[in-house]
Symmetry: C2
Subunit: 301 residues, 2 copies
Amino acid sequence: MAQLVIAGSLALDTVKTPFGQATEALGGAATYSSFAASFFAKPSIVGVVGIDFPRQSLQLLQQRGIDTEGVEISSNGKTFRWEGYYEYDMNEAKTVKTELGVFADFKPKLPESYKDAEYVFLANIDPQLQLQVLEQVKKPRLTLLDTMNYWIQNKKQQLLNVIKKVDILLLNDSEARQLFGTPSLVKAAGAALKLGPKYVIIKKGEHGALLFSDGSHFSAPSYPLEAIKDPTGCGDSFAGALIGYMASKNSDSEKDLRKGIIYGSVIASFNAEDFSLERMKRLSAEEIEKRYKEFERIREF
Amino acid sequence: MAQLVIAGSLALDTVKTPFGQATEALGGAATYSSFAASFFAKPSIVGVVGIDFPRQSLQLLQQRGIDTEGVEISSNGKTFRWEGYYEYDMNEAKTVKTELGVFADFKPKLPESYKDAEYVFLANIDPQLQLQVLEQVKKPRLTLLDTMNYWIQNKKQQLLNVIKKVDILLLNDSEARQLFGTPSLVKAAGAALKLGPKYVIIKKGEHGALLFSDGSHFSAPSYPLEAIKDPTGCGDSFAGALIGYMASKNSDSEKDLRKGIIYGSVIASFNAEDFSLERMKRLSAEEIEKRYKEFERIREF
């Protein structure tokens, strides 16, 4: 199993959906994605929290085999907080409030043991921080980049700079349209590939995901979830499981990437079934394999 | 090959898209769907046109082996006309004008030879007309029903009455949400199945299509079309190819239905590449099989 480093936010989320709510619950892109990756690999995370971050949340990650040496505990502010809600169409999160806290002045410093990582996931944070993390990894084999509409609007040039340096760009459909200024996902993917990445993955929520590379295309089916409680962290869980699977296979092939996208879809579909990390906390390897097999059946013709 | 009857509109369409326009071009649900079905079977169509309907358009259908005995040529008004346009997001047609013409007083009368049909496609027309057609077919084996938002809004009860009598209900995603009052396609499909149909197919445009039956689910991949010129008639072509394939196989099995959905997606993807029926007119069996194989590759993991 190859070494995997994940950089991103650790957060306290306050979320309301038509099916309930959670207050200051464990969240953040690095949290969701490293937990998802831990079903396949032993990720190491980079991020920052305030001293108000619950000790047991870090322990929860450590118990999953996640290396948290790269998580700085700063006395210089509060943990990153996000407050948002979903309406009946749960495809889109509405943000009420974002408090960057300790992330405002964060200067990521990778522990020495992280710098030989072969697999790197730059989860959704400021693209300048993503670049700083990437530059500290000596010789990554496969790098995956996620982002969000906020950075497309406010730090587009910095984002484009990082995109040029990674192997796989991950976007949701509206972000792809926004970043490349076209309603066509095929054209957006083509434009993204021209920037440098070898692969582009477009997440379409309930409609599945698409993988584009030069001359090839993969369409991952959607999973018919009847009981979505909270979609927060689904994109992060998808990405974490995907990169965790690639690290576990020590692979960068498209064949494995397609399987990784299905494992990502599997973990994300479970994640939506409960608030915060609750569903992943009680998720078993047997459940994962069973749903993977369901994904095989639902695309068969 | 089993007998197939298709009822629906024959129309003259005036369409504008970001990539061009067509004026009074051949269109209509029965036209598109029977032409698509003719790649697999020999459909017979039921509908009405005015004396202004171009003679060569009927000949075009006849040359494809389509039986047009059931097309009434009425001197009591003009051919059905639709005028609409698409903006850059080509998922949704905007209607400028609909002129029912001869369809306003249409009383479908099936030729005797149609009444033994085993396969019936009730393409998008007034649900009362759909019911009148269905009641004239003695012992259909597999019946497919399409509709549109207009009938959901204006003739919901009549529509529900027909839905109860068919085997397969076909809807696009927004129609499914509208008819069953839920944002969840899974819940909408469940509600539809409770009304009577054995299968529900939800078309999602560029996101592919879903098939639901009691206890089973199929997710058809989308095809990455870079050059969409005009999506008019794609839903009709999808349905026509699907039911044509089922008739050619003399089957009502889910296994064949899944293949039929892929053939439907293949024909619809070609249809979008040009205005009116232009692309289908120059479509070959080899091209269809080649794209079918591409659909196999894009869902492989």
